[in-house]
């Protein structure tokens, strides 16, 4: 990727709400340049979307998150792709990746209650014929997500004026 486009991408990853003007000012480009880069990134399928980084625990609504490890057994007719299509379509699945190591797929699941998460895994995921095993880990506390630390944010103890 050309260097300029890469720097635009880096800034979007830092804060997707930067306006084209914000990005342009930081990189000495015109807003039109930035918009063209963003459009090209979107068209090429590099940038797939924009979303908020949420600390669900800070909501009183009791959203529950879980990481689910999934093992599958493939046969001549069924590959990872086939299984992935079935699983990715569930709205409860917020992230879904094929990984190396002890299990095949890593899922992130979000629902309103612990019960809803386990019901989803046992009723929607486990019955899939190729699935041989699921291990569900409930998230107990999030310290950092998508590069953003979930601390109280107030760490600047500098004097307001210093020479």
């Amino acid at each position: 990727m050309d260097d300029e486009r890469r720097r635009v991408l880096d800034l979007l990853c830092e804060d997707a709400r930067y306006t084209a003007e914000d990005v342009a000012r930081q990189l000495d480009l015109t807003p039109e340049d930035v918009e063209a880069h963003v459009e090209a990134l979107e068209n090429a399928g590099v940038v797939r979307g924009y979303t908020a980084v949420v600390d669900w625990a800070a909501l009183d609504d009791g959203i529950v998150e879980a990481k689910v490890e999934l093992n599958v057994e493939l046969d001549r007719e069924t590959g990872y792709e086939d299984i992935s299509r079935r699983i990715a379509k569930f709205p409860e699945v917020t992230a879904f990746q094929l990984v190396s190591g002890d299990y095949d797929f890593a899922l992130e699941v979000r629902a309103d209650t612990m019960n809803a998460v386990s019901r989803f895994v046992s009723e929607e995921i486990a019955p899939i014929p190729e699935v041989t095993q699921t291990v569900t880990h409930y998230v107990m506390e999030t310290y950092k997500d998508d590069g953003i630390e979930f601390d109280d944010g107030e760490t600047d103890d500098r004097l307001s004026y210093s020479p």
Partner: protein
């Protein structure tokens, strides 16, 4: 009758004290008045400090600083074209502040004239006075982008000076100087036999080009002390660690005073500094890139507002000119828009009519602060 010495009585309170007190009473101030990085020291440096404490390294070091640290400094500064011997020509100090004070006391006799290129960091003048020197202000000008020139030295009558203090990249203006600019100053220094104190603590924060030092000009090494440190480049202000490099007899003279006043620089900070030099180059590059983006952002916003501001290429300051009196502007901006900036006159001659704006802040804060400045200007137009 005061119990204080005449020296203490004569020493003026810092020009930013009053502003600090106003800001303390307010809730929502975005401060662009900060003179230090918003980053923390790179983790390997912090860890080295923790490890040193864990191993019980809580003794003095040699007066001149740990030898391995001085050797690391010797190797580090070659990137700026400096060659100094770790044994005889480098002194590790408690920040550049201590080193500057030592240099003045080692080089200034009562009545000697110390020329200070201004606007400048606020301690040079008082340091010279404490040593009994007479301060001669050498204002630089916005039209020269605050570079020191032969003409500026001549205009100020600096030929009668014994010492010349300069700081590039500059606090508060963000100005940098290149080899051709230093060549002029070096010519003046050689012609009039000036000894030069060159504060280069912002050397690593030079954008769009390489840092240059007056000490590498012909015939200047033997008449210059170079100051650098870890505060700005490695975000280690609170660890208080700097160093001075110069001719052996000057460093020896400074060390003789240092051994009675400070004995040795903080041992924990020396451990952090050694690790910083060994493994934190990447962290410095990363911080510099972030400062550079913010610098461009702030300059672009000021240009849009119609605030005249030359393109500062060093440190983490820009120095726009403001309508009317700078001190009044800074106070009204603080009270009405809750944005803290430092009036330029605090930094001496040539600073009036400008304010120092620090961009050592996150981009969302800079965006908020510049929006507030824009609204403030619109209301007062």
């Amino acid at each position: 009758m005061s119990r204080l010495s005449e020296r203490a009585e004569r020493t003026p309170p810092s020009g930013i004290r009053r502003f600090f007190e106003i800001a303390e009473e307010m809730d929502d101030v975005v401060s662009l008045g900060v003179g230090e990085p918003d980053f923390s020291a790179p983790w390997p440096a912090r860890k080295a400090a923790i490890d040193a404490l864990e191993r019980g390294q809580t003794s003095y070091t040699s007066n001149r600083g740990r030898r391995d640290l001085r050797e690391a400094i010797e190797a580090h500064v070659t990137r700026y074209g400096h060659e100094y011997d770790a044994d005889e020509e480098i002194l590790v100090t408690t920040g550049v502040s201590e080193a500057m004070d030592l240099a003045m006391r080692a080089l200034v006799d009562p009545g000697d004239v110390v020329a200070v290129a201004e606007p400048a960091y606020i301690s040079y003048g008082p340091d010279a006075s404490f040593a009994g020197g007479e301060v001669l202000r050498v204002p630089t000008r916005a039209e020269d982008e605050f570079r020191l020139t032969y003409d500026a030295l001549e205009r100020a009558g600096a030929e009668r000076a014994d010492l010349l203090v300069l700081c590039y990249p500059n606090n508060p203006t963000g100005a940098v100087m290149d080899a051709s600019g230093f060549a002029e100053v070096a010519t003046f220094a050689r012609e009039h036999d000036l000894f030069v104190l060159s504060d280069e603590v912002y050397a690593a924060l030079t954008y769009e080009g390489e840092h240059d030092s007056i000490a590498t000009q012909p015939g200047m090494r033997e008449r210059t002390v170079v100051f650098n440190g870890f505060s700005k480049a490695y975000a280690m202000t609170g660890l208080r660690l700097g160093y001075a490099m110069g001719p052996p007899e000057v460093i020896d003279g400074m060390n003789r005073i240092h051994q009675y006043t400070m004995l040795s620089a903080p041992t924990t900070a020396q451990a952090a500094a050694l690790e910083a030099l060994h493994s934190c180059d990447d962290a410095v590059v990363d911080m510099r890139e972030q400062y550079d983006r913010r610098r461009r952002f702030v300059l672009s916003r000021f240009r849009e507002m119609g605030l005249e501001c030359f393109e500062a290429r060093g440190a983490f300051y820009v120095f726009p000119s403001v309508p009317g009196d700078d001190e009044r502007f800074a106070e009204e901006l603080l009270r009405e828009a809750e944005v803290a900036v430092v009036p330029g006159r605090v930094f001496g001659d040539g600073g009036e009519g400008h304010v120092r704006v620090s961009y050592a802040r996150s981009l969302p804060e800079l965006r908020e602060a510049t929006n507030r400045i824009e609204d403030f200007l619109a209301e007062h137009r």
